[in-house]
């Protein structure tokens, strides 16, 4: 009887207010919706299993997930933007690491500090916590990480007279330097091969994969507090770093427009590639290959590596933040993080997850190296609400600089300076228009 009344009430409310969501009744379970990008069959199956498990154990909090078929991250951001405009946001949605600050600064997401204590977070790698923290609060929490390392084609390098055993024996304290990198690239550039692959793509891949170069040389893209780019991305150090990279293009050691799978197809000798390449190469490569740590600047020897991956955030439209927080606590427990990371073939954010059996591959070999980089040298991308603006401006500038180097065959530092100044101006313009006090 009670149920019938409450149902009748719910129906009346729904009819009279014409609202699309039925208000939460005392007896009704809380309903939570999650948006996350569509992924491989293994991940889709993981979600199905985990959500069923949660829903059975928690009849009062019922969760459902919608897979979002994003084509690129801009399309995904568009969907979020349109949903924001009409308050159609789901309760929980996934965000790419460097976008966390953007959503947080615009009030799209809410802080998660109440659900993840400092003690909880101490089990997460520092870089993952840092990437998801904005203005002192945690705004997103993810299960997986990423990294970039230096891949080399052993068969071909041996042919070119490079000491492969030396590369294999490097440690996190003794990575190869920029000049060693350039030397290998030069040695291995022939009619059929280019020495190196340094352009991951012409979008976010550029700032993501190349940031450690700048950090190792002493200056990040943006100031630590995320407010200033002038004197950072256009600093003298940044110009030198960019010139080093452009020089590889100018000398023909790296392609200005590398094809997809350049390394896998045996068209380049070495590559700065993402941690996900390990799985692709293991499965497909028909040559011997190796991975070592991200190269360091000759003078500073400062070891840095990229990181960051998608993470879950709670939206401002969530009516029951507590329930969503509880769910995220459970979703990010050690076992779930381990099984998720294993299914998606990415390194986990939780240190304890590596002790789980499904993550056994990370104990040694190439994957252990990725884990080691994450625990020791990973630095997140700048935490600033204007990151997307910076990222697209930087990618554009680098494309121009590389094209210029490729067509003239030489590196023009004044031109590099002028392009990086434009990046800085673009960033400053956006930051001051929308976020400066």
């Amino acid at each position: 009887m009670k149920k019938a009344i409450s149902m009748a009430m719910a129906l009346t409310v729904a009819l009279t207010t014409a609202a699309t969501t039925v208000p939460v009744m005392a007896d009704d379970p809380v309903e939570l919706t999650i948006w996350s990008p569509t992924d491989t069959a293994a991940i889709e199956a993981w979600w199905e299993e985990k959500i069923a498990e949660w829903n059975e154990a928690n009849p009062d909090i019922q969760v459902s997930r919608e897979a979002i078929d994003r084509s690129d991250s801009y399309a995904y951001d568009n969907k979020i933007a349109t949903a924001v405009t009409s308050n159609d946001l789901p309760d929980i949605f996934y965000v790419d690491g460097p976008q966390v600050s953007y959503y947080a600064a615009n009030g799209i997401t809410v802080p998660l500090d109440d659900y993840f204590s400092e003690e909880d977070l101490s089990d997460f790698v520092d870089s993952a916590v840092a990437q998801n923290t904005y203005d002192g609060s945690l705004y997103a929490i993810g299960a997986t990480e990423s990294s970039v390392a230096f891949y080399y084609n052993k068969d071909y390098l041996t042919e070119c007279g490079v000491d492969v055993a030396d590369l294999d024996s490097r440690t996190v304290d003794n990575p190869i330097t920029w000049s060693e990198f350039a030397e290998i690239a030069e040695k291995c550039t022939t009619d059929d091969y280019v020495g190196a692959h340094i352009i991951m793509d012409h979008g976010e891949g550029l700032p993501y994969a190349l940031e450690p170069m700048y950090l190792s040389a002493g200056k990040d893209y943006i100031s630590e507090d995320g407010t200033t780019s002038d004197g950072y991305v256009n600093s003298e150090e940044a110009v030198t770093t960019t010139a080093y990279l452009a020089d590889m293009i100018a000398k023909g050691w790296a392609n200005v427009e590398p094809i997809t799978d350049e390394f896998l197809n045996g068209a380049c000798a070495t590559m700065l590639g993402g941690s996900w390449e390990i799985a692709t190469l293991t499965e497909n490569a028909d040559f011997e290959w190796g991975v070592t740590y991200y190269p360091v600047n000759d003078d500073t020897k400062e070891a840095v590596s990229p990181c960051g991956d998608w993470a879950a955030a709670i939206s401002k439209n969530c009516e029951n933040v507590d329930a969503a927080g509880q769910f995220l606590q459970w979703l990010m427990n050690t076992e779930n993080v381990a099984t998720y990371a294993a299914a998606i073939a990415k390194p986990a954010t939780r240190i304890s997850a590596y002790d789980e059996e499904v993550m056994a591959d990370y104990q040694e070999g190439n994957l252990a190296l990725i884990k080691e980089q994450l625990e020791n040298t990973a630095v997140p991308r700048p935490r600033t609400p204007s990151y997307a603006v910076f990222s697209s401006a930087y990618a554009e500038a680098m494309t121009n600089i590389f094209s210029d180097a490729a067509s003239t065959g030489e590196v023009d530092n004044d031109y590099i300076q002028s392009e990086l100044d434009v990046v800085s101006d673009t960033f400053t313009d956006d930051y001051e228009t929308y976020y400066a006090e």
């Binding site: 014409a18 699309t20 948006w35 990008p37 569509t38 992924d39 491989t40 069959a41 889709e44 919608e66 897979a67 979002i68 078929d69 994003r70 084509s71 690129d72 399309a75 568009n78 969907k79 933007a81 349109t82 405009t85 009409s86 159609d88 990423s146 094809i259 997809t260 799978d261 350049e262 896998l264 197809n265 045996g266 993402g274 996900w276 390449e277 799985a279 692709t280 499965e283 497909n284 490569a285 028909d286 991956d309 998608w310 998606i344």
Partner: protein, 282 residues
Amino acid sequence: MTKSMQFSAKFGKFMFYFGNIIIGIIFVSPLIWMISASFKPEAEIFANMDSLTTFLPVQASLNNYAEVFSRLNLPQVFKNTLLYIALILIFDLLVNSMCGYALAKFEFRGKGAILNLVVALMVLPMEAIMLPLYIEMSQLGWVNTLAALVVPFIAKCFSIYMFRQFFYDIPDDLIEAAAIDGCSPMGTFFKIVVPISKTVYATVFILDFVAHWNDFMWPFLVMTGEDKRTIQLAVQSFFGTNPVHYSAIMAALVVSAIPMIIMFIFMQKYYVEGIASSGIKG
């Protein structure tokens, strides 16, 4: 006919086919490449791009298709897509041809203004009105419903203008004759004009079908959930997070192109039964 004339006719025919085949190959090569890539393992797709062997699947296998079929609920996806496109096209052909006909053959106040409006609105890029249109859908409560996919795309300026241009060329005598026989303007349109204009209807059908079949951004914005997926959303689901596997993408793209190719070939029959064969313009 002399032998030499026979020979030159045959030679002409040969050259005609030869030319068509060469040009045809240039146009169809990406489709061939896509089909060939869909049978290749990941490592082979971008290998040998400097030679013509890239157009041949050397180690052909059906693995990529197996992945597509296992990851996607294809019957559901095709049903969703065909349903929404069919609804758009039914109303598209009716509403726009009527409007085009009125603009071509009727005299009424406001005609010039409407024609100008149609031309002006042709210009609007979807990118410029996407967000406001979404807001409108949300206010109407249409987000995540079929209405958001169909209703805003029924009236199309390109179609109206194309119908207008073609109806304009229909001889007035024919319409006069029907009126003298006591046909109402509406009767004339449906009984006389539509049957002799199959070609233009087929053209609009093909062009709009293809445009909607390839549309990604709008269905992506207004539809959420696997059960509501359209074909392009299904294809884009393979461009997940890194690494992107082009092998499965190619197979998904081939699967998504098949209905369009069938539709296109099927519609060809309306191109030989057009105005020409009925000879109304003579």
